[in-house]
Amino acid sequence: MAKIGFQLNGEEISLDCEVDEILLDVLREKLGLTGVKEGCGQGECGACTVIMDGVAVNSCLVLMNQVAGCEVTTIEGVKQNGKESAVQKAFVEEGAVQCGYCTPGMVLSAEALLDKNPNPDEKEIRTAIAGNLCRCTGYSKIVAGIQKAVQIRQKERNDDI
């Protein structure tokens, strides 16, 4: 058992856990963050995606000792002051959600992409979510959602200026 400190959704936390515990299990079972989903347990489906130090990762492949000192964002940390992010708004507006099980991971992959590349083309969007499987949508409306989020983000930036 070790004490592992990291930043989770903007707050510093410190947890007693085994160093080889899996981040996904800790988030869901110890911290009750069930927005993080498990779909395959081996990094194939992307349902468990979280953002770790700016990179979208499969939390089912991350051990707790890798998390020490990192910044982790889960879907629960995406809303800011109770307001939906541009990606979340756009997903609702564009009908990018069906059963919704892939949605948290999909949103986080999109957030990570847009934080790095504010104006991606369609190929870049599809590549960024290629590790997030969705069985319901055929991806078209998810891609459209991310494209819409680009516009919303741009507008929000312009409004800020």
Partner: protein
């Protein structure tokens, strides 16, 4: 007629909770005093059980209890049609991954560790893995009664005479693969058995049917069982049969507490309900003008170890054996065969995708042999309202086949196909394929197909709309709200939806068979009408006026020149001591004839879809890339265009995966493609641009003239892709999927080389 909500853009009501991660799926539910359960599964596909030794596990620290077949309080069997599947294997094991025992422990880790201590002594039996061999009289039996679960033979007209008369006979054999539904949410949930009552939280397509089976398994009356089945992280037919509810139920019962179980993906792929692999023989007689005269078809379906819905699935193949065409003479045979190849049952399309692949392949061969345009051939034979279907029933309701086919001529992908087929890459060839499909909606004749819905006015003037049918992701709840709001004349925001909880929602039937928008939608219309009548009656009494002076306004009732908000109406009802809760019911209309002994045949209501696919084949590797797709659905009146497009896009991609990549590979009965690294489904990079061109062939009996669509959108795309490959390189694919090996092999066999565009 102009509508306020029907056909208008309304965002999905469940989307905000899903994008924020707040939506609690059944596998997200936990309790502080909860045990974890682990299902111990067979590691052989066919064996006689000699002994299951659980002694080491019962004493294992942290284990609450162990359950096996002998702990099932009621019937150790379940199934949608017959109870042939044990909750826990008894005497025999019939598939790899079959539940043998359940461990209930304080933690997940203890349950998993303890599971390894169970000792099962088997006498292995030969694995029955080939359905054609399994049909033979001397085959090793999977069940004592023999391996032919079901056979139906059907004859209409004079097939022999038609084969005499025919100018062309096309005969071919087809083989389809086992498709895995691959919903993202793994099977699981929480069962609670406390104070003699069971509560089951587990994703479901029909909580009332789950409850019925749990009542028999646990020997409890239905008042003692509550099933909650929504939200659902995808199902596609695979959660209409029980998944793990039976095992969780027995574990919770013995543990006298709360037990949570979640399958791993490997457990899921080994033990989930899949699409039947089928062997299909088809012999089609045609006149030289292209008129279809007769079809002789045999379907042999691998239903795996247990029946599931094997019989109705092959019945549906039989009903759709000639696709969307008029064929006056048929001889049809359909078999469902037991093997040790996992288990197959309902999956989106329910036996129709297999039939459609064969028939639409035949149509392409016929067009080529008669040198006819493939679209003209389909238009010539396409079925219309008033025609007799192949089973002999009259198609009384709206049939959109011709409308969807005619629309193809306007679709750029077809109209300018030569342009689309050009490529500069000398190793690639492009082709454009078309196909069309119909799909019966509802359960079919002879199966009670009723839907109920409740509308309840709340104190604050808002409404609860209560339906038993869960939204599996297709968006039916949003359509229901639009239907209710339109009929009520109120704002969509005034409606809450309660769904799929046997404690507070009526039995609306199952979310299956493209039946909910039509069937439950109609029940909602009826519930709202009843509510309006009661509210007016109440207001007439309270206001001492004639009911014809009372009208329904957008937010309440208008009585003469005075208006009463729904809040005031609710108050009025409370003071008068009456309830305005209203139930609507609807029964599916049935076809005019019955097929003797057949369950669920024929249908009366059909949706129709056509697909056009632009396909690129790499002539060096055989790799197929689907570049663009046009889909033309007829779903009657479109309730929610975005929702329809979403169904089209998702169904199209699922059918494309079936065409090009999805294949459950079994070795000695063991699923070896047991995760997403080996069982491939399309990713965002594999998917084409998809355009949707709805044609609205209005169906008067539907709610606002709408029909369902969820299944039909996934059928004809598979054949359109296969026909596109034929157009590109002249190779006929007769076995699914068209993976690189198969395409190369077919190209070597019958390639015409294709033309490059230089």
């Amino acid at each position: 007629m102009t509508y306020k909500w029907i056909g208008k853009k309304v965002n999905r009501i469940d989307a905000p909770g899903k994008v924020s991660g707040e939506a609690k799926y059944m596998t997200d539910i936990s309790f502080p005093d909860m045990y974890w359960g682990k299902i111990v599964r067979a590691e052989v596909a066919h064996a006689r059980i000699i002994e299951i030794d659980v002694s080491a596990v019962e004493a294992y620290p942290g284990v609450r209890c162990v359950v096996t077949a002998k702990d099932v309080p009621g019937v150790n069997g379940y199934g949608m049609a017959i109870y042939d599947q044990p909750v826990f294997a008894q005497e025999k094991i019939r598939f790899y991954g079959e539940p043998i025992a359940g461990i209930v422990a304080e933690t997940k880790a203890i349950a998993e560790e303890a599971a390894k201590q169970i000792r099962v002594t088997y006498e292995e039996l030969p694995v029955v893995h080939d359905m054609l061999q399994a049909m033979k009289d001397d085959a090793v039996p999977v069940h004592e009664e023999g391996n032919v679960l079901f056979h139906r033979h059907f004859v209409n007209g004079d097939v022999a005479a038609s084969f005499e008369e025919a100018d062309l006979i096309v005969e071919e054999e087809y083989q389809t693969s086992t498709q895995t539904p691959s919903y993202l949410e793994l099977e699981g949930g929480v069962g609670i058995y406390e104070n003699g009552q069971l509560t089951m939280y587990c994703a479901s397509q029909h909580p009332d049917m789950d409850r019925k089976q749990l009542c028999d398994i646990l020997a409890l009356p239905k008042e003692k069982i509550r099933v909650v089945g929504y939200p659902v992280g995808g199902a596609f037919g695979g959660k209409v049969d029980l998944t793990v509810q039976a095992q969780i139920g027995v574990m919770a019962y013995k543990a006298r507490g709360k037990v949570k179980v979640i399958n791993s993906r490997e457990e899921s792929f080994s033990s989930c309900w899949k699409r039947h692999a089928m062997h299909i023989r088809m012999k089609t007689a045609v006149r030289k003008d292209g008129t279809l005269l007769a079809n002789q078809v045999t379907f042999i379906a691998d239903t795996g170890a247990y029946a599931g819905l094997g019989e109705p699935v092959v019945n549906l193949s039989l009903e759709h054996a000639c696709g969307a065409y008029r064929v006056p003479n048929v001889i049809l045979d359909a078999y469902a065969i037991y093997t040790n190849n996992s288990i197959s049952s309902a999956m989106r399309g329910f036996g129709v995708p297999q039939a459609n692949f064969a028939m639409e392949s035949q149509m392409e061969l016929i067009a080529r042999k008669l040198d006819m345009d493939p679209l003209d051939l389909r238009l010539l034979n396409g079925i219309k309202t008033g025609d007799k279907a192949i089973l002999g029933h009259t198609l009384r309701l709206a049939m959109g086949t011709i409308d969807t086919l005619e629309k193809i001529t306007e679709v750029p992908l077809w109209a300018d196909k030569e342009q689309f087929k050009c490529t500069d890459n000398k190793w690639k060839r492009r082709g454009v394929g078309i196909a069309t499909s119909i799909q019966g909606a509802g359960l079919g004749r002879g199966l009670k197909d009723d839907a109920q819905a409740d509308i309840r006015l709340l104190e604050d003037g808002r409404f609860n709309l209560c339906v038993g049918t869960p939204d599996l992701g297709q968006g039916n709840l949003t359509a229901f709200v639009q239907i209710a709001a339109e009929q009520l004349g109120c704002d969509v925001a005034c409606l809450n939806v309660l769904c799929a909880d046997t404690q507070c929602t009526p039995d609306s039937g199952a979310t299956v068979a493209s039946r909910t928008v039509y069937g439950v939608g109609n029940a909602i219309v009826s519930a709202v009408d009843t509510f309006k009548g009661r509210a007016i009656e109440l207001a007439a009494e309270v206001c001492q006026t004639d009911s014809d002076r009372i009208h329904i306004g957008p937010a309440g009732l208008i009585v003469g020149d005075k208006s009463y908000s729904y809040c005031e109406i609710a108050d009025m009802a409370t003071k008068q001591g009456i309830s305005l809760d209203s139930r609507g019911t609807f029964s599916f209309p049935e076809a005019d004839i019955e097929i003797e002994g057949a369950i669920g045949l024929p249908h009366l209501l059909y949706s129709a879809v056509s697909h056009v696919a632009l396909v690129e084949v790499d002539v060096l590797t055989g790799e197929v890339d689907v570049l663009e797709v046009a889909c033309i659905p007829d779903t009657g009146r479109v309730i929610n265009l975005q929702g329809l497009e979403a169904q089209v896009e998702g169904g199209t991609v699922m059918g494309m995966g079936y065409a090009t990549m999805e294949n459950t590979i079994l070795k000695d009965g063991k699923v070896i493609t047991d995760n997403f690294n080996t069982y491939l489904i399309p990713t965002a990079l594999d998917c084409p641009k998809i355009d949707t061109y709805p044609v609205e062939v209005l169906e008067k009996s539907g709610p606002f003239e709408a029909k369902g669509i969820g299944e039909c959108v996934g059928n004809s795309i598979t054949s359109a892709v296969i026909n596109g490959i034929y157009d590109a390189v002249g190779a006929r694919i007769t076995s699914l999927p068209a993976d690189m090996e198969r395409v190369l092999e077919a190209m070597e066999k019958d390639s015409e080389g294709g033309e490059s565009c230089e």
